[in-house]
Amino acid sequence: MKKDMICISCPLGCPLSVEMDESGKVLSVSGNSCKRGEQYAIDECTNPVRMLTTTIRVHGGALPMIPVKTSAPIPKGKMMECMQVINRMALDAPIRMGEVIICNICDTGVDIIATNEL
């Protein structure tokens, strides 16, 4: 199995080619111009993670929405599931910067925290 991607470790943006076996184990990485590129390719193929940022509705604040983010990157495949949980929430002001809004969202071990105060 072959997978192509662009490396985002630095602005160079090397086109990477990854060779994997049936189980998804990385056999080889080509196209990278440095070691970081290889590591990026392996991470992307075995456990791609992303930061999730969105908003939650707030009652009684100066503004109707508060921005939030995951406290650490979460598995890419869990983004939409997390969005569903977040979208069901509604908060009451005041909210502090960095306040934990949802603990261990979707069992990822990662929290949702406020990225502003309201």
């Binding site: 908003t55 939650i56 509705r57 929405m65 979208n87």
Partner: protein, 481 residues
């Protein structure tokens, strides 16, 4: 609800006529199909006050044009509408063109246009330093000018309301029945009864006339596309610059606007009868404007274009080229205004008087009001005030201290005024036409959301019910969550 007169169509003619009728002791209603007045030809045209040398001698068009041009200053003063008497130049590039200027001069003279002059290349160059070197002379008509057409319609409407007229928006007419000396007008807002109808429906005037069986004329929508340029280009042109006229109209012109922008256009493309909603600009149309204007003022480019837009002119099918302003042959209580294309805007004040007199002869039972208010108060324009005046104004009402539209310097106070005025703005474009918020170079990038918020607040509806220009032209959909 029963009225004496129903005016159908709230363009500049409809509004001016409604105002004229509000001088009489009667009940008048103006019916408008859109969410605002001046939504048809009146909002997208050249905004020119023509001197009056284009129309054929002896026509109603010629008479009302020349009268209108001389009345415009008076009306704009009374109604507090921006108007500038900057004069116009028809520019000639060949000896053939120069001959055409002679014809125009002669025609203008016969029509009663005062103080025209055929000027030399040198004088033209002195008046218009940026004009192409290929120009060889021009016809100068000092009585021409520029005006804000939609502001004229809005001001006339407000003044009519001050005098007891009623305006119904979103009230498109789909059927008219006549029985027992009374019209029963079916609108989107229910049935309206009226003894008289004035049909000012612009490109739809044939459709409205058809509702009483009058099929004596047909209106072809003639599309004209325009560019509006940033105020940065404002010093490139000082007067209305026409090219020599052709069969399709007066050609593409370039002119300053009353607000200091530059307007170029229109093209002239005849559409099908059923394309009366087509206001799309086209690549071909926009390219034509660029090419033609390049020949007039080579330095003028569209690099600083603020927007492009299209309008439809109500052009009569067939050979008839005069305005039709007369009672219908099918019903003498039904006055048609048809084919009011250029110089319709110029003629509007004269048309209003003409229709007013026609109506008084037809229905002498209505007497003049004694307490007619002829003046519509000037809206607050913070940007036009001196520092001292601004200071005082803001002390009285703090909302005039809060700038919403950065490009044009429009304050919250002015926007609230526009919404709460008689026949106030109901949508974003309505606020824009009344205040100029969003008409600057950022094109509402910053103030757009703020204007939506103010509309929602003042009209007491959620933001997702606010539209750009009525109907389904929503700005935002549901809440995100």
């Amino acid at each position: 609800m029963q009225y004496d007169v129903a005016v159908i169509g709230a363009g500049v003619c409809g509004a001016m006529i409604t105002r004229e009728l509000s001088k009489l002791e009667l009940q008048v209603v103006m019916l408008e199909k859109y969410n605002d007045v001046a939504m048809g030809t009146s909002k997208a045209n050249s905004a020119i006050v023509h001197a009056g040398f284009d129309a054929e001698n002896g026509t109603l068009k010629a008479k009302l044009n020349v009268q209108g041009a001389s009345l415009m200053a008076y009306y704009c003063n009374k109604l507090n509408v921006p108007y500038k008497n900057i004069g116009s130049l028809v520019v000639a590039y060949s000896w053939e063109d120069m001959q055409t200027l002679d014809i125009l001069f002669e025609r203008g003279f016969q029509n009663g246009v005062p103080n025209m002059e055929i000027i030399s290349k040198e004088k033209l160059k002195a008046m218009e330093p940026h004009i192409s070197d290929t120009a060889i002379g021009a016809l100068w008509a000092p009585t021409a000018g520029i005006v804000s057409p939609y502001e004229l319609a809005i001001a006339a409407t407000e003044n009519a309301i001050m005098n007891g007229a009623r305006v119904m928006r979103n009230s498109g007419v789909f059927d008219i029945e006549y029985k027992n000396d009374m019209f029963f007008i079916s609108t989107a807002k229910g049935v309206i009864k009226a003894k008289y109808i004035i049909n000012c429906a612009g490109v739809f005037a044939d459709k409205i006339a058809g509702m009483i069986g009058d099929e004596s004329f047909k209106i072809i929508p003639r599309k004209g596309e325009y560019y509006l340029l940033d105020k940065i280009e404002g010093n490139m042109v000082n007067h209305v610059l026409f090219q020599c006229p052709s069969k399709m109209g007066k050609g593409i012109l370039v002119s300053p606007t009353v607000h200091g922008n530059v307007l170029m256009g229109p093209t002239a493309i005849d559409l099908d009868f059923d394309s009366k909603l087509d206001l799309d600009t086209t690549i071909d149309g926009l390219n034509t404007i660029k090419q033609e204007i390049h020949a007039v003022i080579p330095e003028l480019t569209t690099r600083n274009a603020i927007t492009s837009f299209a309008g439809l002119r109500a052009h009569l099918e067939g050979d008839e080229c005069d305005f039709i302003i007369r009672p219908s042959e099918k019903n003498e209580h039904f006055i048609n205004l048809a084919g009011i294309e250029s110089p319709g805007l110029t003629a509007a004040p004269a048309i209003a008087r003409y229709v007013g007199e026609m109506f008084c002869e037809m229905a002498p039972e209505y007497t003049k009001k004694e307490n007619f208010i002829s003046r519509r108060p000037a809206p607050v324009r913070v940007r036009e005030l001196s520092l001292e005046e601004r200071k005082k104004l803001i002390e009285k009402d703090k909302r005039y201290g809060r700038v919403v539209c950065r490009c044009e310097g429009i304050t919250e106070g002015e926007i609230v005024d526009a919404i709460t005025a008689p026949c106030g703005a109901r949508d974003v474009d309505g606020v824009k036409r009344r205040t100029r918020a969003g008409m600057g170079r950022c094109q509402a990038g910053f103030c757009g959301a703020k204007v939506v918020e103010l509309l929602a607040r003042e009209l007491d509806v959620p933001m997702n019910q606010i539209t750009k220009h009525g109907d389904n032209s929503k700005i935002v959909f549901k809440k995100t969550k």
